[in-house]
């Protein structure tokens, strides 16, 4: 019996997973979400910027492959910024990011009636990974002479006084790869000491805990769960929160599979 169960076609398992994800989504259940410490500290940092009527640099370092994880996060962060009148300058460090960044900026910008060039600016992508961060730190306009549509930065009200990374009150990186750990921390935060935090895919999140304890990062949003926690803090439930019920169900299924599989493994070994 156990042998037979262990050898079932994996396509049957695939169906299980699909249903485990689709059914909770269709049922539209919203589970209560409790924000964790590292997400709250990101929120508090944005609040502090809002009190000082400050300006933040939002760096988009993710591509199309992690869109379902990262886009809800970007949306929640921007909602927070725009609802509190924080000015946002957005740059892209990944070549696939501009299409995604632009979409979310325009969507949330319109939602809050924000004006391009005054409330937010979109500077597009620059290749060079860490070199772009280094360049921005030395001279912001040297790295980004114009915005994504070719307008020089001195002609935009928001960016005309920005000279270096020091002119930002907070830098937040949305990352799907090396950008937090190997670009922003050693080439930006290390030298200029601005408050820095990031949101990243769940794959990377466990790697970043050492930087939280060493205070090199103010806080961290990890994956869709982090995005859902942020949506809760901002008070606007959206795609990430909606996904959490499916996420919960799918995790239960996987845990059940692991437990069952191992039980079978040990039973068969004992024989």
């Amino acid at each position: 019996m156990i042998q037979w169960l262990m050898n079932i076609d994996r396509r049957i398992i695939f169906v299980f997973v699909f249903l485990g994800v689709a059914l909770p989504l269709l049922a539209n259940v919203f589970l209560p979400i409790k924000p964790t410490r590292d997400v709250i500290s990101v929120y508090d940092q944005f609040e502090k910027v809002a009190e000082d009527e400050g300006i933040v640099l939002l760096s988009f370092s993710y591509g199309a492959s992690t869109e379902p994880e990262m886009q809800p996060m970007a949306r929640a962060i921007l909602r927070h910024c725009f609802s509190r009148n924080i000015k946002v300058v957005a740059v892209c460090l990944w070549p696939e990011a501009p299409g995604l960044a632009r979409k979310v900026l325009e969507e949330i910008g319109d939602e809050f009636g924000k004006t391009y060039g005054e409330d937010y600016a979109f500077l597009g992508f620059k290749p060079g990974n860490f070199a772009v961060v280094l360049n921005m730190g030395q001279d912001f306009r040297d790295a980004f002479p114009q915005d994504n549509w070719g307008t020089p930065l001195e002609e935009l009200a928001l960016t005309q006084d920005i000279r270096t990374l020091r002119d930002f009150d907070f830098v937040f990186d949305l990352a799907a790869g090396d950008s937090i750990e190997f670009w922003w921390i050693p080439y930006g935060q290390e030298k200029y000491g601005f408050p820095f935090a990031g949101g990243c895919t769940a794959v990377m999140a466990p790697d970043l805990f050492p930087f939280l304890q060493s205070k090199q990062m103010v806080g961290l949003l990890g994956g869709l769960a982090g995005a859902a926690e942020y949506e809760t803090l901002v008070g606007r439930q959206d795609k990430a929160t909606a996904g959490m019920s499916a996420q919960s169900m799918a995790h239960l299924i996987i845990v059940a599979f692991i437990l069952f599989g191992n039980m079978a493994f040990f039973l068969s070994r004992r024989r």
Partner: protein, 413 residues
Amino acid sequence: MQNKPPSWLVGLVFLGVIASDCQGQDAQSGRGSLPLIDNTEAFDTPNDAGNSITLTWARTRSIPEGGVYKAYIAESREGPYYPASEIAGGANLQSEEPETFGYGDAAWDAHFIHITEYAGGEGVVSLQNDKTYYVRLELHSGNRSTRAPIVTASAQGNYFNWKKLNNIVLGGLLSFLILGFISLARHRDLYIRRIGGLEALDEALGRATAMGKPVLFIHGLRDMSQISTIAAVNILGRVASRTAEYDAALRVVAPDPVVMSVSQETVQASYFEAGRPDAFNTKHVFVAGTEQFSYAAATEGIMVRERPAAHIMMGYFYAESLLLAETGSTTGAIQIAGTDAFTQLPFFVTTCDYTLMGEELYAASAYLSREPKLLGSLKGQDAGKAIIIAAIVLGALLATVDIPFLTHVFTPH
């Protein structure tokens, strides 16, 4: 350009002077008038690009509530003096900036401000380098005030950042160790311990031969310039010489034509050395696919069709690791993996019989190839690790008994 002594030295000497003067000040403050400002000094702000001067003075404990220090600056002794900075009476103690003024107790007994600009007649003016500025510090409280004697300084760009002294010393030490061991490795064979994974590898190959089935070697996705790929090729050499010796069939799949041709040469050389050049067939080393998932799917196909007795996965893997290891383990083969892709390691650990983790892969490669640059680096890094371990253990102990010396040494500024 004048030679700057280390900032902490300036701080220490200077603070010593201040500390000895503090008693006098306490005596004065009893009289009801504002205390005098003692030991005012101005100098170029150390460790910066210029355009900044620093003003320091002794702390007075008898400042009335609401007292403020105001600094005025002028380009000539006669003035006009413009307001440059204003701080609350108890603010800006030197202890707030230990990277400039040191960690000594004296830093609690002196104030500082950095002046980079002032409110001139026609707006904000930045300080210029190599220009003498006259600075007057005043203490205000209500309508009373006292003035310190005028001091002068000029701003300069500095040629060394003394705050980075710990960085350069540690960097120098590590460089010396690593380069030293590499050059040592050229003259003699350095010892590194046996790598458990290699024994597991031999065992797997032994069992594969006993079963009379082929061995499948799977490269990671990165190209030939990567250390992990080079390590994988070194390990392939070992695998090939064993299969040649035991007369077992070997299949090698690669995602890249260059990795494939290097692998062919390596396998051929191993077979030649084992005296079995006849058993080598170039067709057994091939590109299975070039896109991530196609490569994984093609390799899975081989696993299912040929049912190899052992799967050996070496190099840098991405998400396809899961597909490979999962299919691999369901065929019942012995699986040995080695990767420096830490995100993929969990999948290998749970699906493989033995996994070389991170640096173990490089160590295995160095152990097999005995190449001086690899062995030497490894030994140099070991020395670096020893230093770090010693610093952590000793530093934590010292900090616990309230001697934070090492903590200060290891603080980056």
